[in-house]
């Protein structure tokens, strides 16, 4: 026990000397395991958030942000431990087996009543994923045109209230358990369009959906129904302050924007929906 | 009197067990023939063969001179001409007594319910069941059920009736009412074959008694001879056991 504490102290000291202006030390005694930062992601974790479902590589936007936050908090890369959870595991009452959980969780006031979120690390544009056939059929990037489409979304995401809030389509949307089922329904012609965060939509349209297309986007800085991702933590987690400090530092230094530029495709050329 | 039914050399086997080993039997129009014999001697099987419920392996069965045992013959029209009543009544439990009786005339003879109403009611009344037509089998006593089963067979206006130990499942005090029905049928000249353990009754009403032993008719003749002076030792032995 003493050895572990000592080595953790050493690691902390090393980290704090390495990172000028960092928040090293703020996590002391607040993590699950002393000297180790346990981070949860999805099972599987999806591109482009995590490449090849291997967060340990630090490749992919969320994986990269995770290591940057960890470093900012004073954890070496090898002091970061990854675990996997479903959404339900993340919100169930009782002890958590992670310090924070990152898998594109949107911050909403309702959710904040049950769990804690960090400050946002990403503001997501929402994009309309569809197929070439639907575009050829005359669908356009206008609300009026979108209303007439048959919509689909992943049931556990904030895309569901956004479809209702931003588009209010004529018929009720169909909802699915995961991305794969949404694209299957799109392919089967059971839905015309689905709402995803822009990076996911770009990936799905380019790689997964045959003849996929992005019809348009609701840009990230919209005022109505904004979608911001935060790190999810147990309600009342003492670590929140430390995590928020680290994120603020990354934003101030421009490091977060750099990671975004590096890992998330540029959304240029996707028309904005009026 | 003419021969209504003539069996010659009728054989029936179940696997290795030959149950009818060449049966010859002649039944005259209006005759009542009783089959007696030990349990397992083949009485039921013989009746089921006549009714074509069991296909016959060999031999002929002439009904009005026509061979009904011919392989490949459609059995349904033949069965419609021969009525059969079973030891365990076999009424259809989900139908009322009247529905039990009307089903076959409706489906086989294509008669309507309204057509059948009068004759069926008459049959029920004749056998003192006029007030039981709307009852389900489980609301009837054993004797009443067996009488309904007889009415059901009679409603098809059969030319011959086969009875397979129809009183064996009845309480003793109910046997009489069923035997009365048989007496009444005999009085009106119905041709009947009856497998029975009621020796006194056979003695009283049979025109001919056949003693079956291990799949053969060992001895046949008028009841006075069979019961009074049997020719075969086996017959005598059987009778001494049951009388």
């Amino acid at each position: 026990m003493r050895i572990a504490v000592t080595s953790a102290l050493v690691a902390t000291m090393m980290a704090s000397t390495a990172m000028a202006g960092g928040h090293a030390g703020c996590a002391d005694g607040k993590t699950l395991e002393e000297g180790v930062l346990t981070i949860a992601t999805g099972n599987p974790a999806y591109y482009p958030w995590v490449l090849d479902d291997a967060p340990e590589s630090g490749e992919g936007f969320e994986a990269a942000v995770a290591y940057a936050v960890a470093a900012e908090m004073g954890f070496e890369a090898d002091a970061v431990k990854w675990v996997r959870t479903s959404f339900d595991e993340a919100i169930q009452p009782g002890a958590k087996d992670f310090d924070f959980n990152m898998q594109q969780y949107s911050i909403t006031p309702e959710r904040e009543m049950m769990i804690d979120f960090s400050e946002p690390y990403y503001s997501s544009a929402m994009a309309v994923l569809t197929t070439g056939a639907v575009v050829d059929g005359g669908a356009e990037a206008t609300i009026a045109s979108l209303k007439g489409l048959k919509w689909g979304a992943v049931a556990t995401t904030t895309a569901v209230p956004m479809i209702a809030g931003l588009i209010a389509p004529d018929s009720d949307p169909l909802l699915y358990g995961d991305n794969t089922d949404v694209t299957a329904a799109l392919q089967a012609g059971q839905i015309d369009a689905a709402l995803f965060d822009l990076p996911t939509a770009l990936y799905l349209s380019a790689v997964v959906v045959e003849n996929g297309a992005i019809l348009g986007q609701f840009p990230a800085d919209r005022s109505e129904a904004p979608d911001q991702f935060g790190l999810l933590m147990e309600d009342g987690n003492a670590l929140k302050e430390c995590v928020d400090g680290a994120l603020a530092a990354l934003k101030d230094s421009g490091a977060l924007a750099e990671l975004e530029a590096q890992w998330l495709q540029q959304a240029t050329g996707v028309p904005v929906i009026e | 009197m003419s021969a209504k039914l003539v069996l010659s050399g009728v054989r029936k086997r179940f696997g290795d067990n030959e149950v009818c080993k060449g049966i010859d039997l002649t039944v005259q129009e209006g005759q009542m023939v009783c089959l007696i014999g030990a349990s397992g001697s083949g009485k039921s099987t013989l009746l089921r063969c006549i009714n074509l419920l069991e296909p016959v392996d060999d031999g002929t069965i002439l009904l009005d001179g026509r061979d009904i045992a011919e392989p490949g013959l459609d059995p349904q029209p033949v069965r419609a001409r021969i009525g059969m009543v079973f030891q365990s009544y076999n009424l259809f439990p989900h139908m009322t007594a009247a529905e039990n009786v009307m089903l076959a005339p409706r489906r086989v003879h294509g008669r309507s319910r309204s057509d059948l109403q009068a004759p069926v009611t008459a049959l029920f009344e004749r056998f003192n069941l006029g007030d039981r037509m709307g009852h389900y089998p489980d609301q009837l006593s054993g004797g009443q059920q067996q009488r309904v089963a007889i009415i059901r067979a009679l409603a098809m206006q059969p030319e011959i009736m086969l009875f397979d130990e129809i009183t064996s499942a009845l309480d003793p005090e109910l046997v009489g009412e069923v035997l009365d029905v048989l007496r009444s049928l005999r009085a009106e000249g119905m041709t009947m074959i009856l497998a029975t353990h009621e020796m006194a009754f056979a003695q009283e009403v049979a025109d001919k008694v056949c003693f079956l032993d291990k799949g053969r008719i060992l001895e046949e003749g008028p009841p006075e001879t069979i019961f009074g002076a049997p020719r075969e030792a086996r017959t005598a032995a059987f009778l001494s056991r049951v009388l």
Partner: protein, 279 residues
């Protein structure tokens, strides 16, 4: 406690005794039930995590907000059930009859019936729903013929008909040969024997077992949500995600129970009635 009061009411000695026993049994049962409930109500909240569990699963505010939406979504379950159940009954009967045909010319039907029941009873329902619900529309059917409601329902119908067919067939087998013999002796053909004599009894005999199948179907309708339809279970999942709270599932469970418990009781009652009738 004086027994003379009750016997004075004109009851036989035995009836009076049994009435006393019943009253006593009821008092004991009520007492022990109350004790168990009381223990649960008092002890569970003492558990250290209870407050959090209560907030996540039994949250009054969330319940009030989501329950009307859940009820509305339950209508979808009812619709799907309502059109699946009769089709399952019909198809199940047809398959059962296929398996019972004896004419050699119809042997292919018999073979088909056997393969059908083997295959669809051997597959998980959810797999059939995915295969039929996404696969067939994927062949390029135009809307509305590619609707997940149609093909998802078909998947349920195919699977449940296989079970119902087996139940009906066991019912047919349970009818004693003497019933067929009696019908045959009257000159009825095989078709009429089946239709008027065997089937009515067979179906009545297996009614309770089929009741249980339909209770299971009522629950499995929720599986259709995997291919899009927003029925109660999916709606509860949406609420759960939006509010990070499991209370909507509890609401959905209550609605399910409100339907399935009376149905189960009724099936049990039928089964008991039948047992009594047989003995």
């Amino acid at each position: 406690m004086s027994g003379s009061e009750t016997t004075a009411g004109g009851l036989s000695r035995r009836a009076a005794y049994e009435a006393r026993q019943r009253k006593r049994a009821m008092r004991v049962a009520a007492g022990s039930t109350a004790a168990v409930v009381l223990a649960l109500v008092l002890l569970v909240p003492l558990a250290p995590g209870w407050e959090k569990v209560q907030r996540s699963f039994f949250n009054g505010e969330v319940f009030a907000k989501t329950f009307p939406g859940l009820l509305e979504a339950f209508l979808t379950n009812i619709y799907i059930f309502a059109w699946c159940a009769p089709l399952i009954a019909v198809l199940g009967l047809v398959i059962a009859l296929c398996r019972d045909v004896r004419a050699p010319a119809l042997y292919p039907l018999r073979l088909f019936g056997a393969i059908y029941t083997d295959v669809f009873r051997g597959l998980p329902v959810i797999l059939v729903i995915y295969l039929v619900g996404f696969g067939i529309p994927g062949l390029g059917l135009p809307r509305p013929w590619n609707s997940p409601y149609i093909w998802g329902s078909l998947a349920l119908i195919l699977v449940y008909a296989a079970y119902v067919a087996e139940i009906i067939r066991s019912g047919i087998d349970s009818i004693h040969g003497s019933q067929r013999a009696a019908a045959a002796s009257l000159g009825l053909n095989e078709k009429d024997t089946m239709r008027f004599v065997v089937l009515p009894q067979a179906i009545r005999n297996v009614a309770p077992a089929n009741m249980n199948m339909f209770i299971a179907l009522q629950k499995d309708v929720a599986l259709l949500s995997f291919i899009g339809p927003v029925e109660i279970f999916r709606q509860a999942g949406v609420y759960k995600s939006l509010m990070a709270n499991f209370t909507p599932y509890v609401g959905a469970a209550l609605i399910f129970l409100a339907v399935t418990i009376p149905a189960t009781r009724y099936a049990d009652y039928l089964m008991q009635k039948q047992r009594r009738a047989r003995t």
